[in-house]
Amino acid sequence: MKDYNEEDYLLLSGIQHFNFCRRQWALIHIEQQWEDNVRTIEGDHLHRKADQPALREKRGDKLVVRALPVQSRELGITGICDVVEFIRDPSGVSLAGEEGLYLPFPVEYKRGKPKRNDSDHSQLVAQVMCLEEMLVCDIPKAYFYYDEIKHRIEVIITAADRERVKASIQEMRHYFERNHTPKAKAGPHCLSCSLNNICVPDILNKRSVSSYIESRLNE
Protein backbone atom coordinates (compact mmCIF):
# COMPACT_ATOMS: atom_id res chain seq x y z
CA MET A 1 0.00 0.00 0.00
CA LYS A 2 1.32 3.37 -0.99
CA ASP A 3 1.02 6.24 1.44
CA TYR A 4 0.74 9.61 -0.22
CA ASN A 5 2.24 12.83 0.95
CA GLU A 6 -0.40 15.19 2.27
CA GLU A 7 0.83 17.82 -0.17
CA ASP A 8 0.06 15.53 -3.07
CA TYR A 9 -3.47 14.75 -1.98
CA LEU A 10 -6.13 15.24 -4.60
CA LEU A 11 -9.35 17.00 -3.76
CA LEU A 12 -12.24 14.72 -3.08
CA SER A 13 -14.64 17.13 -4.76
CA GLY A 14 -12.69 16.54 -7.97
CA ILE A 15 -14.00 13.01 -8.39
CA GLN A 16 -17.35 14.38 -9.36
CA HIS A 17 -15.75 16.74 -11.89
CA PHE A 18 -13.59 13.91 -13.19
CA ASN A 19 -16.52 11.61 -13.79
CA PHE A 20 -18.48 14.41 -15.38
CA CYS A 21 -15.61 15.20 -17.75
CA ARG A 22 -11.92 14.47 -17.45
CA ARG A 23 -11.01 17.73 -19.10
CA GLN A 24 -13.25 19.74 -16.77
CA TRP A 25 -11.47 18.17 -13.82
CA ALA A 26 -8.05 18.94 -15.28
CA LEU A 27 -8.99 22.54 -16.03
CA ILE A 28 -10.13 23.05 -12.45
CA HIS A 29 -7.62 20.95 -10.54
CA ILE A 30 -4.52 21.11 -12.69
CA GLU A 31 -4.93 24.45 -14.42
CA GLN A 32 -6.82 26.18 -11.62
CA GLN A 33 -9.40 27.61 -13.95
CA TRP A 34 -12.83 28.40 -12.71
CA GLU A 35 -15.86 30.22 -13.90
CA ASP A 36 -19.22 30.38 -12.23
CA ASN A 37 -22.53 29.86 -13.89
CA VAL A 38 -25.99 29.85 -12.39
CA ARG A 39 -25.64 26.22 -11.33
CA THR A 40 -22.39 26.73 -9.47
CA ILE A 41 -23.70 29.86 -7.75
CA GLU A 42 -26.76 27.92 -6.61
CA GLY A 43 -24.47 25.18 -5.38
CA ASP A 44 -22.36 27.65 -3.38
CA HIS A 45 -25.44 29.14 -1.87
CA LEU A 46 -26.72 25.77 -0.82
CA HIS A 47 -23.39 24.76 0.68
CA ARG A 48 -23.20 27.92 2.71
CA LYS A 49 -26.06 26.45 4.71
CA ALA A 50 -24.22 23.22 5.33
CA ASP A 51 -20.81 24.79 5.79
CA GLN A 52 -20.99 25.73 9.47
CA PRO A 53 -18.12 23.87 11.12
CA ALA A 54 -18.97 25.20 14.59
CA LEU A 55 -22.52 23.88 14.48
CA ARG A 56 -22.94 20.55 16.20
CA GLU A 57 -26.27 19.01 17.08
CA LYS A 58 -27.05 16.19 19.38
CA ARG A 59 -30.50 14.71 19.40
CA GLY A 60 -31.10 11.44 21.16
CA ASP A 61 -29.08 8.79 19.39
CA LYS A 62 -27.94 11.15 16.69
CA LEU A 63 -24.95 13.46 16.52
CA VAL A 64 -24.90 15.78 13.49
CA VAL A 65 -21.56 17.30 12.48
CA ARG A 66 -21.18 19.81 9.66
CA ALA A 67 -18.22 20.62 7.40
CA LEU A 68 -16.10 17.73 8.58
CA PRO A 69 -12.63 17.59 7.01
CA VAL A 70 -11.69 14.07 5.94
CA GLN A 71 -8.83 12.32 4.17
CA SER A 72 -7.61 8.96 3.04
CA ARG A 73 -3.91 8.13 3.12
CA GLU A 74 -4.47 5.08 1.06
CA LEU A 75 -6.27 6.92 -1.74
CA GLY A 76 -4.33 10.16 -1.31
CA ILE A 77 -7.41 12.36 -1.23
CA THR A 78 -8.78 15.00 1.08
CA GLY A 79 -11.97 16.99 1.29
CA ILE A 80 -14.87 18.10 3.40
CA CYS A 81 -18.09 16.27 4.11
CA ASP A 82 -21.07 18.64 4.13
CA VAL A 83 -22.78 16.77 6.92
CA VAL A 84 -21.93 13.57 8.75
CA GLU A 85 -24.56 11.96 10.94
CA PHE A 86 -23.23 9.74 13.70
CA ILE A 87 -25.87 7.23 14.81
CA ARG A 88 -25.56 5.32 18.04
CA ASP A 89 -25.11 1.67 17.07
CA PRO A 90 -23.77 -1.35 18.95
CA SER A 91 -21.76 -2.32 15.86
CA GLY A 92 -20.24 1.16 15.69
CA VAL A 93 -16.97 2.64 16.86
CA SER A 94 -16.05 4.87 19.76
CA LEU A 95 -15.64 8.59 19.09
CA ALA A 96 -13.28 11.01 20.78
CA GLY A 97 -15.17 12.88 23.49
CA GLU A 98 -18.37 10.84 23.14
CA GLU A 99 -19.73 8.03 25.18
CA GLY A 100 -21.02 4.92 23.43
CA LEU A 101 -20.53 3.53 19.93
CA TYR A 102 -21.48 5.33 16.72
CA LEU A 103 -21.65 4.68 12.98
CA PRO A 104 -21.05 7.62 10.62
CA PHE A 105 -23.20 8.35 7.55
CA PRO A 106 -22.20 11.20 5.24
CA VAL A 107 -24.93 13.40 3.77
CA GLU A 108 -23.93 15.34 0.68
CA TYR A 109 -25.96 18.43 -0.22
CA LYS A 110 -26.78 18.83 -3.88
CA ARG A 111 -28.64 21.44 -5.85
CA GLY A 112 -31.36 20.26 -8.20
CA LYS A 113 -32.71 16.74 -8.20
CA PRO A 114 -31.25 13.25 -8.46
CA LYS A 115 -29.14 12.89 -11.59
CA ARG A 116 -28.95 10.06 -14.05
CA ASN A 117 -25.20 9.73 -14.26
CA ASP A 118 -23.12 8.67 -11.32
CA SER A 119 -20.72 11.61 -11.16
CA ASP A 120 -22.24 12.72 -7.84
CA HIS A 121 -22.42 9.16 -6.61
CA SER A 122 -18.70 8.52 -6.69
CA GLN A 123 -18.05 11.60 -4.58
CA LEU A 124 -20.23 10.15 -1.85
CA VAL A 125 -18.49 6.79 -2.11
CA ALA A 126 -15.13 8.52 -1.71
CA GLN A 127 -16.40 10.29 1.41
CA VAL A 128 -17.47 6.95 2.81
CA MET A 129 -14.06 5.48 2.07
CA CYS A 130 -12.31 8.37 3.85
CA LEU A 131 -14.52 8.01 6.92
CA GLU A 132 -14.03 4.25 6.98
CA GLU A 133 -10.29 4.65 6.93
CA MET A 134 -10.19 7.41 9.54
CA LEU A 135 -12.59 5.79 11.96
CA VAL A 136 -11.73 2.17 11.15
CA CYS A 137 -15.27 1.02 10.52
CA ASP A 138 -17.54 -0.19 7.74
CA ILE A 139 -20.17 2.16 6.37
CA PRO A 140 -22.84 0.43 4.31
CA LYS A 141 -24.78 3.49 3.11
CA ALA A 142 -24.80 7.25 2.75
CA TYR A 143 -27.24 9.97 1.69
CA PHE A 144 -27.78 12.73 -0.80
CA TYR A 145 -29.91 15.64 0.16
CA TYR A 146 -31.40 17.22 -2.96
CA ASP A 147 -32.41 20.81 -2.56
CA GLU A 148 -35.00 20.89 -5.30
CA ILE A 149 -37.01 17.98 -3.93
CA LYS A 150 -36.05 18.77 -0.31
CA HIS A 151 -35.51 15.12 0.29
CA ARG A 152 -32.70 12.81 1.12
CA ILE A 153 -31.99 9.70 -0.88
CA GLU A 154 -30.29 6.67 0.54
CA VAL A 155 -27.36 5.26 -1.37
CA ILE A 156 -26.08 1.74 -0.71
CA ILE A 157 -22.32 1.57 -1.12
CA THR A 158 -21.14 -1.63 -2.81
CA ALA A 159 -17.72 -3.17 -3.26
CA ALA A 160 -17.96 -2.43 -6.98
CA ASP A 161 -18.56 1.27 -6.16
CA ARG A 162 -15.41 1.33 -4.10
CA GLU A 163 -13.40 -0.27 -6.89
CA ARG A 164 -14.69 2.28 -9.39
CA VAL A 165 -13.66 5.14 -7.15
CA LYS A 166 -10.21 3.65 -6.67
CA ALA A 167 -9.82 3.33 -10.43
CA SER A 168 -10.95 6.93 -11.00
CA ILE A 169 -8.52 8.27 -8.45
CA GLN A 170 -5.71 6.27 -9.97
CA GLU A 171 -6.47 7.74 -13.36
CA MET A 172 -6.71 11.25 -11.88
CA ARG A 173 -3.32 10.83 -10.25
CA HIS A 174 -1.86 9.72 -13.53
CA TYR A 175 -2.93 12.97 -15.21
CA PHE A 176 -2.02 15.02 -12.17
CA GLU A 177 1.52 13.74 -11.98
CA ARG A 178 2.07 14.52 -15.64
CA ASN A 179 0.26 17.88 -15.35
CA HIS A 180 -1.65 16.80 -18.37
CA THR A 181 -4.98 18.21 -19.47
CA PRO A 182 -6.73 15.63 -21.61
CA LYS A 183 -8.53 16.71 -24.77
CA ALA A 184 -12.25 17.29 -24.64
CA LYS A 185 -14.80 14.73 -25.60
CA ALA A 186 -17.48 17.15 -26.66
CA GLY A 187 -21.05 16.12 -26.00
CA PRO A 188 -24.39 17.26 -24.65
CA HIS A 189 -22.87 17.63 -21.18
CA CYS A 190 -20.79 20.56 -22.50
CA LEU A 191 -23.93 22.70 -22.58
CA SER A 192 -24.33 22.59 -18.83
CA CYS A 193 -20.61 22.96 -18.08
CA SER A 194 -19.62 26.26 -16.50
CA LEU A 195 -16.15 25.98 -18.01
CA ASN A 196 -17.45 25.77 -21.56
CA ASN A 197 -15.90 29.03 -22.67
CA ILE A 198 -12.57 28.29 -21.03
CA CYS A 199 -12.46 24.78 -22.46
CA VAL A 200 -13.78 25.69 -25.93
CA PRO A 201 -14.40 22.02 -26.77
CA ASP A 202 -15.12 22.74 -30.43
CA ILE A 203 -11.65 24.13 -30.94
CA LEU A 204 -10.18 20.68 -31.31
CA ASN A 205 -12.47 19.91 -34.20
CA LYS A 206 -11.44 22.99 -36.09
CA ARG A 207 -9.09 22.92 -39.02
CA SER A 208 -5.42 23.48 -38.36
CA VAL A 209 -4.25 27.00 -37.67
CA SER A 210 -1.65 26.82 -40.41
CA SER A 211 -4.29 26.12 -43.04
CA TYR A 212 -6.39 28.98 -41.62
CA ILE A 213 -3.47 31.38 -42.03
CA GLU A 214 -2.44 30.06 -45.44
CA SER A 215 -5.92 30.32 -46.87
CA ARG A 216 -6.31 33.90 -45.64
CA LEU A 217 -2.94 34.97 -46.99
CA ASN A 218 -3.64 33.47 -50.39
CA GLU A 219 -6.97 35.16 -50.90
Binding site: V200, D202, I203, Y212, I213, R216, L217
Partner: protein, 343 residues
Protein backbone atom coordinates in the same frame (compact mmCIF):
# COMPACT_ATOMS: atom_id res chain seq x y z
CA UNK B 1 -18.41 32.30 -25.55
CA UNK B 2 -17.90 34.33 -22.41
CA UNK B 3 -20.28 37.18 -21.81
CA UNK B 4 -19.07 40.73 -22.28
CA UNK B 5 -19.94 42.84 -19.29
CA UNK B 6 -19.58 46.54 -18.77
CA UNK B 7 -16.61 48.60 -17.80
CA UNK B 8 -17.30 51.39 -15.36
CA UNK B 9 -15.18 54.43 -16.18
CA UNK B 10 -15.01 56.97 -13.37
CA UNK B 11 -13.92 60.25 -14.90
CA UNK B 12 -15.21 62.66 -12.31
CA UNK B 13 -12.26 63.75 -10.16
CA UNK B 14 -12.32 63.60 -6.36
CA UNK B 15 -14.74 60.74 -6.19
CA UNK B 16 -14.43 57.87 -3.78
CA UNK B 17 -15.54 54.33 -4.61
CA UNK B 18 -16.94 52.11 -1.92
CA UNK B 19 -18.75 48.84 -1.47
CA UNK B 20 -22.30 48.55 -0.23
CA UNK B 21 -23.54 44.98 -0.20
CA UNK B 22 -23.26 43.77 -3.79
CA UNK B 23 -23.02 47.29 -5.15
CA UNK B 24 -20.26 49.67 -5.99
CA UNK B 25 -21.09 53.19 -4.85
CA UNK B 26 -19.56 56.37 -6.23
CA UNK B 27 -19.28 59.06 -3.57
CA UNK B 28 -18.22 62.67 -3.51
CA UNK B 29 -17.82 64.16 -0.05
CA UNK B 30 -20.05 61.51 1.52
CA UNK B 31 -22.78 62.16 -1.01
CA UNK B 32 -23.65 59.08 -3.05
CA UNK B 33 -23.67 59.99 -6.73
CA UNK B 34 -24.29 56.59 -8.25
CA UNK B 35 -24.63 52.93 -7.44
CA UNK B 36 -24.01 49.94 -9.73
CA UNK B 37 -24.41 46.20 -9.09
CA UNK B 38 -20.99 44.61 -9.15
CA UNK B 39 -22.13 41.48 -10.96
CA UNK B 40 -22.79 43.54 -14.10
CA UNK B 41 -19.23 44.80 -14.25
CA UNK B 42 -16.15 43.26 -15.77
CA UNK B 43 -13.81 46.14 -15.08
CA UNK B 44 -13.60 49.42 -13.22
CA UNK B 45 -11.28 52.09 -14.54
CA UNK B 46 -10.77 55.33 -12.66
CA UNK B 47 -9.22 58.54 -13.93
CA UNK B 48 -8.07 61.22 -11.56
CA UNK B 49 -7.27 60.74 -7.94
CA UNK B 50 -10.30 58.78 -6.84
CA UNK B 51 -9.78 56.53 -3.87
CA UNK B 52 -11.19 53.05 -3.54
CA UNK B 53 -12.11 51.34 -0.29
CA UNK B 54 -10.20 48.18 0.65
CA UNK B 55 -13.56 46.38 0.87
CA UNK B 56 -14.28 47.20 -2.77
CA UNK B 57 -10.78 46.13 -3.81
CA UNK B 58 -11.37 42.80 -2.09
CA UNK B 59 -14.77 42.37 -3.71
CA UNK B 60 -13.33 43.17 -7.15
CA UNK B 61 -10.44 40.76 -6.67
CA UNK B 62 -12.65 37.91 -5.55
CA UNK B 63 -15.16 38.45 -8.35
CA UNK B 64 -12.47 38.82 -10.96
CA UNK B 65 -13.42 42.41 -11.75
CA UNK B 66 -10.32 44.27 -12.85
CA UNK B 67 -9.65 47.59 -11.15
CA UNK B 68 -7.36 50.08 -12.86
CA UNK B 69 -6.10 53.47 -11.80
CA UNK B 70 -5.14 56.02 -14.43
CA UNK B 71 -4.02 59.63 -14.29
CA UNK B 72 -6.50 62.20 -15.49
CA UNK B 73 -4.77 62.28 -18.84
CA UNK B 74 -5.18 58.55 -19.23
CA UNK B 75 -1.72 57.33 -18.33
CA UNK B 76 -1.68 54.00 -16.59
CA UNK B 77 -0.82 54.10 -12.88
CA UNK B 78 -1.72 50.86 -11.14
CA UNK B 79 -3.98 47.88 -11.16
CA UNK B 80 -5.43 45.69 -8.44
CA UNK B 81 -4.83 42.06 -9.21
CA UNK B 82 -6.36 39.21 -7.25
CA UNK B 83 -4.97 35.79 -6.69
CA UNK B 84 -3.11 34.46 -9.72
CA UNK B 85 -5.32 32.60 -12.08
CA UNK B 86 -4.16 29.68 -14.07
CA UNK B 87 -1.45 27.23 -13.32
CA UNK B 88 2.28 27.36 -13.10
CA UNK B 89 2.60 24.72 -15.78
CA UNK B 90 1.08 26.98 -18.39
CA UNK B 91 3.15 29.95 -17.28
CA UNK B 92 6.37 27.97 -17.20
CA UNK B 93 5.80 26.87 -20.75
CA UNK B 94 5.21 30.52 -21.65
CA UNK B 95 8.59 31.37 -20.05
CA UNK B 96 10.30 28.52 -21.90
CA UNK B 97 9.01 29.83 -25.21
CA UNK B 98 10.02 33.35 -24.22
CA UNK B 99 13.57 32.15 -23.48
CA UNK B 100 13.84 30.43 -26.84
CA UNK B 101 14.40 32.76 -29.77
CA UNK B 102 13.11 30.42 -32.45
CA UNK B 103 9.99 29.41 -30.55
CA UNK B 104 9.33 33.05 -29.65
CA UNK B 105 9.70 34.06 -33.27
CA UNK B 106 7.20 31.43 -34.40
CA UNK B 107 4.53 32.91 -32.18
CA UNK B 108 5.51 36.53 -32.77
CA UNK B 109 5.52 36.17 -36.55
CA UNK B 110 1.87 35.14 -36.45
CA UNK B 111 1.03 38.20 -34.39
CA UNK B 112 2.87 40.42 -36.86
CA UNK B 113 1.19 38.61 -39.74
CA UNK B 114 -2.08 39.55 -38.08
CA UNK B 115 -1.00 43.15 -37.79
CA UNK B 116 0.01 43.44 -41.44
CA UNK B 117 -3.03 41.56 -42.67
CA UNK B 118 -5.39 43.78 -40.72
CA UNK B 119 -3.62 46.96 -41.72
CA UNK B 120 -3.72 45.86 -45.32
CA UNK B 121 -7.46 45.36 -45.17
CA UNK B 122 -8.05 48.66 -43.38
CA UNK B 123 -6.45 50.32 -46.39
CA UNK B 124 -8.17 48.08 -48.95
CA UNK B 125 -11.53 48.81 -47.39
CA UNK B 126 -10.89 52.53 -47.46
CA UNK B 127 -10.12 52.45 -51.17
CA UNK B 128 -13.33 50.55 -51.78
CA UNK B 129 -15.56 52.64 -49.53
CA UNK B 130 -14.14 56.05 -50.41
CA UNK B 131 -12.82 55.50 -53.91
CA UNK B 132 -13.66 59.07 -54.86
CA UNK B 133 -11.82 60.63 -51.96
CA UNK B 134 -8.74 58.48 -51.68
CA UNK B 135 -5.65 58.25 -53.82
CA UNK B 136 -6.16 54.61 -54.70
CA UNK B 137 -2.91 54.30 -56.62
CA UNK B 138 -0.87 55.42 -53.64
CA UNK B 139 -2.65 53.07 -51.25
CA UNK B 140 -2.47 50.10 -53.62
CA UNK B 141 1.31 50.34 -53.59
CA UNK B 142 1.29 50.04 -49.82
CA UNK B 143 -1.17 47.15 -49.67
CA UNK B 144 0.80 45.22 -52.26
CA UNK B 145 3.97 45.71 -50.31
CA UNK B 146 2.25 44.64 -47.07
CA UNK B 147 1.07 41.51 -48.88
CA UNK B 148 4.61 40.71 -50.00
CA UNK B 149 6.01 41.20 -46.50
CA UNK B 150 3.37 38.90 -45.04
CA UNK B 151 4.52 36.06 -47.27
CA UNK B 152 8.11 36.55 -46.08
CA UNK B 153 6.98 36.48 -42.48
CA UNK B 154 5.76 32.90 -42.64
CA UNK B 155 9.30 31.49 -42.57
CA UNK B 156 11.00 33.93 -40.21
CA UNK B 157 12.66 32.37 -37.18
CA UNK B 158 14.79 35.27 -35.99
CA UNK B 159 13.34 38.07 -33.93
CA UNK B 160 15.65 40.72 -35.43
CA UNK B 161 14.49 39.93 -38.93
CA UNK B 162 10.93 39.97 -37.71
CA UNK B 163 11.41 43.40 -36.14
CA UNK B 164 12.97 44.66 -39.35
CA UNK B 165 10.05 43.52 -41.48
CA UNK B 166 7.56 44.85 -38.97
CA UNK B 167 9.32 48.20 -38.84
CA UNK B 168 9.36 48.73 -42.58
CA UNK B 169 5.70 47.67 -42.84
CA UNK B 170 4.82 50.19 -40.12
CA UNK B 171 6.57 52.98 -42.02
CA UNK B 172 4.56 52.08 -45.12
CA UNK B 173 1.26 52.00 -43.27
CA UNK B 174 1.94 55.23 -41.41
CA UNK B 175 2.84 56.94 -44.68
CA UNK B 176 -0.77 56.66 -45.86
CA UNK B 177 -2.59 56.79 -42.53
CA UNK B 178 -3.27 60.50 -42.94
CA UNK B 179 -5.14 59.69 -46.17
CA UNK B 180 -7.77 57.89 -44.11
CA UNK B 181 -8.72 61.07 -42.26
CA UNK B 182 -11.59 62.34 -44.38
CA UNK B 183 -13.18 64.96 -42.15
CA UNK B 184 -11.95 67.94 -40.15
CA UNK B 185 -8.66 67.72 -42.03
CA UNK B 186 -7.62 71.23 -41.06
CA UNK B 187 -7.43 70.21 -37.39
CA UNK B 188 -6.75 66.46 -37.50
CA UNK B 189 -3.67 65.28 -39.36
CA UNK B 190 -1.09 62.56 -38.98
CA UNK B 191 2.57 63.09 -39.85
CA UNK B 192 4.00 60.33 -37.74
CA UNK B 193 3.68 58.71 -34.41
CA UNK B 194 4.59 60.78 -31.34
CA UNK B 195 4.05 59.35 -27.92
CA UNK B 196 5.65 61.11 -24.98
CA UNK B 197 4.03 63.49 -25.28
CA UNK B 198 1.67 63.21 -28.25
CA UNK B 199 2.23 66.30 -30.35
CA UNK B 200 -1.02 66.41 -32.27
CA UNK B 201 -4.65 65.51 -31.71
CA UNK B 202 -4.54 62.30 -33.70
CA UNK B 203 -1.61 61.06 -31.64
CA UNK B 204 -3.35 62.07 -28.44
CA UNK B 205 -6.36 59.99 -29.47
CA UNK B 206 -4.23 57.06 -30.61
CA UNK B 207 -2.27 57.02 -27.36
CA UNK B 208 -5.45 57.00 -25.35
CA UNK B 209 -7.02 54.20 -27.41
CA UNK B 210 -3.84 52.11 -27.12
CA UNK B 211 -3.87 52.53 -23.33
CA UNK B 212 -7.46 51.33 -23.15
CA UNK B 213 -6.70 48.38 -25.40
CA UNK B 214 -3.56 47.53 -23.41
CA UNK B 215 -5.60 47.40 -20.21
CA UNK B 216 -8.15 45.10 -21.75
CA UNK B 217 -5.37 42.93 -23.12
CA UNK B 218 -3.57 42.69 -19.77
CA UNK B 219 -6.75 41.69 -17.97
CA UNK B 220 -7.58 39.17 -20.68
CA UNK B 221 -4.15 37.52 -20.47
CA UNK B 222 -4.35 37.29 -16.72
CA UNK B 223 -7.82 35.85 -16.78
CA UNK B 224 -6.64 32.92 -18.91
CA UNK B 225 -3.65 32.39 -16.61
CA UNK B 226 -0.84 33.85 -18.71
CA UNK B 227 1.78 36.31 -17.48
CA UNK B 228 1.15 39.61 -19.24
CA UNK B 229 4.71 40.75 -18.49
CA UNK B 230 6.63 38.00 -20.28
CA UNK B 231 6.53 38.45 -24.04
CA UNK B 232 7.87 36.90 -27.20
CA UNK B 233 8.56 39.81 -29.54
CA UNK B 234 8.87 42.44 -26.83
CA UNK B 235 11.63 41.31 -24.50
CA UNK B 236 11.49 41.56 -20.73
CA UNK B 237 11.72 44.99 -19.29
CA UNK B 238 10.68 45.63 -15.70
CA UNK B 239 7.23 47.11 -15.50
CA UNK B 240 6.42 46.53 -19.14
CA UNK B 241 3.56 44.23 -20.03
CA UNK B 242 5.48 42.73 -22.94
CA UNK B 243 3.03 39.96 -23.79
CA UNK B 244 0.13 42.41 -23.78
CA UNK B 245 2.10 44.58 -26.20
CA UNK B 246 2.83 41.55 -28.42
CA UNK B 247 -0.83 40.61 -28.47
CA UNK B 248 -1.83 44.17 -29.23
CA UNK B 249 0.16 44.26 -32.44
CA UNK B 250 -2.53 42.52 -34.45
CA UNK B 251 -5.29 44.60 -32.86
CA UNK B 252 -3.80 48.10 -32.90
CA UNK B 253 -4.93 48.89 -36.41
CA UNK B 254 -8.18 47.05 -36.58
CA UNK B 255 -9.33 47.90 -33.06
CA UNK B 256 -7.72 51.18 -32.01
CA UNK B 257 -6.75 52.99 -35.25
CA UNK B 258 -10.12 52.37 -36.86
CA UNK B 259 -11.77 53.54 -33.67
CA UNK B 260 -9.81 56.79 -33.70
CA UNK B 261 -10.53 57.33 -37.39
CA UNK B 262 -14.24 56.92 -36.83
CA UNK B 263 -14.18 59.41 -33.94
CA UNK B 264 -12.72 61.98 -36.30
CA UNK B 265 -14.57 61.08 -39.47
CA UNK B 266 -17.93 60.89 -37.72
CA UNK B 267 -17.14 64.11 -35.85
CA UNK B 268 -17.59 62.59 -32.41
CA UNK B 269 -14.61 64.69 -31.38
CA UNK B 270 -13.72 68.14 -32.64
CA UNK B 271 -10.98 70.69 -32.71
CA UNK B 272 -12.14 72.46 -29.56
CA UNK B 273 -11.86 69.42 -27.33
CA UNK B 274 -8.08 69.60 -27.02
CA UNK B 275 -5.58 72.00 -25.54
CA UNK B 276 -1.92 72.50 -26.22
CA UNK B 277 0.62 72.83 -23.43
CA UNK B 278 3.64 75.11 -23.52
CA UNK B 279 5.82 72.29 -24.79
CA UNK B 280 3.34 71.51 -27.60
CA UNK B 281 2.00 68.42 -25.84
CA UNK B 282 -1.62 67.92 -26.90
CA UNK B 283 -4.12 66.93 -24.24
CA UNK B 284 -7.80 66.03 -24.47
CA UNK B 285 -10.20 67.96 -22.29
CA UNK B 286 -12.45 66.09 -19.85
CA UNK B 287 -15.49 66.39 -22.08
CA UNK B 288 -13.70 64.81 -25.03
CA UNK B 289 -12.27 62.03 -22.89
CA UNK B 290 -15.78 61.22 -21.75
CA UNK B 291 -17.03 61.10 -25.34
CA UNK B 292 -14.17 58.83 -26.32
CA UNK B 293 -14.86 56.44 -23.44
CA UNK B 294 -18.53 56.31 -24.28
CA UNK B 295 -17.77 55.53 -27.91
CA UNK B 296 -15.21 52.93 -26.82
CA UNK B 297 -17.86 51.15 -24.75
CA UNK B 298 -20.26 51.23 -27.67
CA UNK B 299 -17.64 49.84 -30.03
CA UNK B 300 -17.04 46.96 -27.64
CA UNK B 301 -20.68 45.92 -27.90
CA UNK B 302 -20.65 45.72 -31.71
CA UNK B 303 -20.63 42.18 -32.99
CA UNK B 304 -18.22 40.62 -35.45
CA UNK B 305 -17.57 37.17 -36.77
CA UNK B 306 -14.41 35.73 -35.28
CA UNK B 307 -12.40 34.62 -38.31
CA UNK B 308 -10.92 31.49 -36.76
CA UNK B 309 -13.69 30.38 -34.40
CA UNK B 310 -16.43 31.30 -36.90
CA UNK B 311 -18.49 32.52 -34.02
CA UNK B 312 -20.21 35.85 -33.56
CA UNK B 313 -18.71 37.74 -30.65
CA UNK B 314 -18.66 41.38 -29.55
CA UNK B 315 -15.53 43.38 -30.38
CA UNK B 316 -14.91 43.75 -26.66
CA UNK B 317 -14.25 40.04 -26.34
CA UNK B 318 -11.59 39.92 -29.04
CA UNK B 319 -8.71 40.50 -26.57
CA UNK B 320 -10.04 37.72 -24.35
CA UNK B 321 -10.57 35.35 -27.26
CA UNK B 322 -7.05 35.89 -28.58
CA UNK B 323 -5.60 35.42 -25.09
CA UNK B 324 -7.53 32.18 -24.78
CA UNK B 325 -6.31 30.96 -28.16
CA UNK B 326 -2.73 31.80 -27.20
CA UNK B 327 -3.10 29.81 -23.97
CA UNK B 328 -4.53 26.91 -25.99
CA UNK B 329 -1.54 27.03 -28.32
CA UNK B 330 0.96 27.17 -25.43
CA UNK B 331 -0.82 24.26 -23.81
CA UNK B 332 -0.46 22.25 -26.99
CA UNK B 333 -4.07 22.11 -28.20
CA UNK B 334 -3.33 24.03 -31.39
CA UNK B 335 -0.61 23.69 -34.02
CA UNK B 336 0.05 27.45 -34.21
CA UNK B 337 -1.16 30.63 -32.59
CA UNK B 338 -4.13 31.80 -34.69
CA UNK B 339 -3.98 35.57 -35.11
CA UNK B 340 -7.13 37.62 -35.51
CA UNK B 341 -7.29 38.10 -39.28
CA UNK B 342 -9.96 40.67 -39.95
CA UNK B 343 -11.36 41.69 -43.29
Amino acid sequence: MKKLLNTLFVTLPDTYLGLDGENIVVKQEEEILARYPLHNLEAVCTFGYAGVSPALMGACASRNVSLTFMTRTGRFLARVIGEDRGNVVLRKEQYRISDDEVRSARVARNMITGKLYNNKWILERATRDYALRIDTERIKKVTESLGETMKLLREVEQLDILRGLEGSAAVQYNSVFDDLILQQKESFYFYGRSRRPPLDKVNALLSFAYTLLANDMKSALESVGLDAYVGFLHRDRPGRASLALDMMEELRGVYADRFVLSLINKKVVNDKGFYVKENLAVIMDDETRKKVLKAWQERKQEKIMHPYLNEKIPWGLVPYTQALLLARYIRGDLDEYPPFLWK
